[in-house]
Symmetry: C2
Subunit: 120 residues, 2 copies
DNA sequence: ATAATATATGAACAAATAATCATATGTGCA
DNA sequence: TGCACATATGATTATTTGTTCATATATTAT
């Protein structure tokens, strides 16, 4: 069926068939590219970026983050859930508080690379 | 005004004030974090990720990309515009064709870091 | 047990966005 | 000049998504 859609999409065939096939060979599976987009989507929101950046320094509880960013506790909780689901932060419960911290070093690296790009 | 919202956001002050202030000191300006989110938003769509990945190999014209991904030329053009606006791809005109290629090495690096994270 | 606080969650709403359709622009060729 | 093709663009629409509001859950102290 993918063949059909391709046929529809480009009727007049300017296409360099050999090039297209070569590139197609080296493309990762669709599912992986989809997951990758999903990951970047998580970074693609300023509230979540701010949360991640705040956690660069040290672990913070939900209410700390809310005050830090000047947004409601509810909004923070929702976004923390997104970040946690995508394994970008981890949670540590301590009494009534839940302290969040970065899950691993990839978060630094990804954000770092992004920073480099916009600083041009 | 930011002060007011902060006060509203956390009425019961579980907040560790010293920690919050320390983190606040080290946060980049809001505008930068906003730009950063905008950049990642561009990577946060599977069509655009596929286009970028396809361009890893070599430059491609619009119609090549359309066939490669099995989507319409119009959809490709729209997304290429987003990518170009954000300086992730550059265009080279050759007769009726417009060939697109990656704008710089950051694209590789950012996607590479993302890949590392999902491969776990 | 009850009250107070910290966090989480579900539903609803508003804003953002990606694809589609129709059409415009630009380029090469007869 | 006129036609065919490659790409771009504007408007519309359907979907996604972030916030808010109301409320639920969990923990501590009285």
């Amino acid at each position: 069926m993918s063949e059909q859609r391709q046929a529809e999409s480009c009727e007049y065939l300017c296409v360099h068939q050999d090039t297209v096939e070569k590139v197609l060979d080296q493309m990762p599976p669709d599912e992986m590219l989809y997951d990758l987009a999903e990951l970047f989507k998580v970074f693609g929101d300023s509230t979540r970026i701010k949360i991640l950046y705040a956690l660069f320094e040290e672990e913070l509880c939900v209410c700390d983050i809310a005050q830090l960013l000047g947004i409601t506790q509810t909004a923070v909780s929702h976004q923390l859930r997104v970040l946690k689901t995508n394994k970008l932060v981890k949670a540590r419960k301590d009494g009534k508080n839940v302290f969040y911290s970065l899950a691993d070093a990839h978060v630094y690296k990804i954000i770092g690379q992004g920073m480099e790009h916009i600083e041009e």
